[in-house]
Symmetry: C2
Amino acid sequence: MKPTTGVRDPHKLTGKGQATRARILEHAAELIYAKGVHGTNNEQLRRAAGVSGSQLNHYFPTKESLVLAVIAWQAESVLTFHRSEQFACFDSLDAFRAWADFYIGYEHVYQEGCSLGSLASEIVKTDLDVHDELANAFDQWRDIFREGIERMQQHGRISAEADPARLATLLLAAFQGGTLLAQVARNIAPLKDALQTAIDYLQTFATSPDADVMAPQASSVMRKAGDRLDREDANGEHGRLLAR
Amino acid sequence: MKPTTGVRDPHKLTGKGQATRARILEHAAELIYAKGVHGTNNEQLRRAAGVSGSQLNHYFPTKESLVLAVIAWQAESVLTFHRSEQFACFDSLDAFRAWADFYIGYEHVYQEGCSLGSLASEIVKTDLDVHDELANAFDQWRDIFREGIERMQQHGRISAEADPARLATLLLAAFQGGTLLAQVARNIAPLKDALQTAIDYLQTFATSPDADVMAPQASSVMRKAGDRLDREDANGEHGRLLAR
DNA sequence: TCGTGATTGGGCTGTCAAGCCCAATCGCGG
DNA sequence: CCGCGATTGGGCTTGACAGCCCAATCACGA
């Protein structure tokens, strides 16, 4: 009856067991992010996590259960990152610019892609039943953007004409698609262009004085704000995980 | 010295051989599109194409060579489709709307994804040397959009302020990302929102009289043009391939 | 007609990874 | 101190798949 994920109940493990399970999960997430699900076998996992064959089977009876756990782990990681203070709930254009700059500045994004998106596209065609888990994560991710835009509307920072849900979807799609293009091109430019152009569109709805100075159509030439690529400051859990 | 693709030289095959090779390639493209590279084995291929084990090895010595051929085939297919007359070189907003409507109307797009993008994301992390082939295809794809927008500028249909290259990248990224989100959600809505919103942005640069009536920012509420989902007319090679 | 190379058939083998088993050890609670 | 479940180790079996081989047939040209 329970939604058996195939994963051992965490509360039935001792502290040591939980630590081992977490170590496996962490290294699995890293390996799978770098090499893909099909490019990672249990022998690599054993060496990376320093565990023996039977531990994998003990804590994750099947590979599917491990992949499911990694998905949940990555989903939580990326959502936590987007909810961190540095983006202030995405209630300003600057927050969106800072968000774009973060990903534009991380080379891992165009080497390995989005930690969730590349995982999703790799297994979406398999028979693994991960659609609900992934769909939920992407919905929440989009909602973070949507609620931020709605908050900007409530504060009168952008026009009521803007459609927060659609703009949020465009931002997320531009990120996922831009990441794929950047991976293929081995060049961050496509992601940079996609994100900055999407945010430029968001900016055309701005009502603040300094945005009114420029005509909305001219926003594409006023992208100085998006060119801050020299960030090197702390970037929280997600960033460290990406950069590992 | 030659850029040995691992594929047999087509001109060294007789007509019968070429037919067999084409039959294998066609079915391989279809199977791989539906089930992914890792979800397709040579036994399925043999049954689908009605050939025997050694034919696969005869025409495609390795699986990598087959995948490379499929990539080239899909790339040509999607580029030919976008260059077809029905989109008139993407020199008008209507052409972009028609393009979006086409993909929004095909359920295969959110079941199996983009024929090129899903292939790309599945193998971009493997050691297959397909980056150049894929990067070239995506560049050409983006250039089709870019040149269309440039032509619109030359004809005075949209403002000179618009940045064709960046807008083209956004459109392609929105398509790829929207397709991924739609696949995960098993719902066309994310792709529809992403594409229509991206085209709405393009429309804010329009200079034509009927676009001037509406304020650019209001374009998001004037999306009647994007809601034509009742298309069922002929859609050329690419469409038939997708729908097969 | 004959021969050579292209084409086809089916089977075979080596490789690799996932999952499972038995045995040994640890560690907490009684 | 003892017992039992949790934890760890390493090896082994099974299955799947890609790649390869030998033999038979076809087809075009000399």
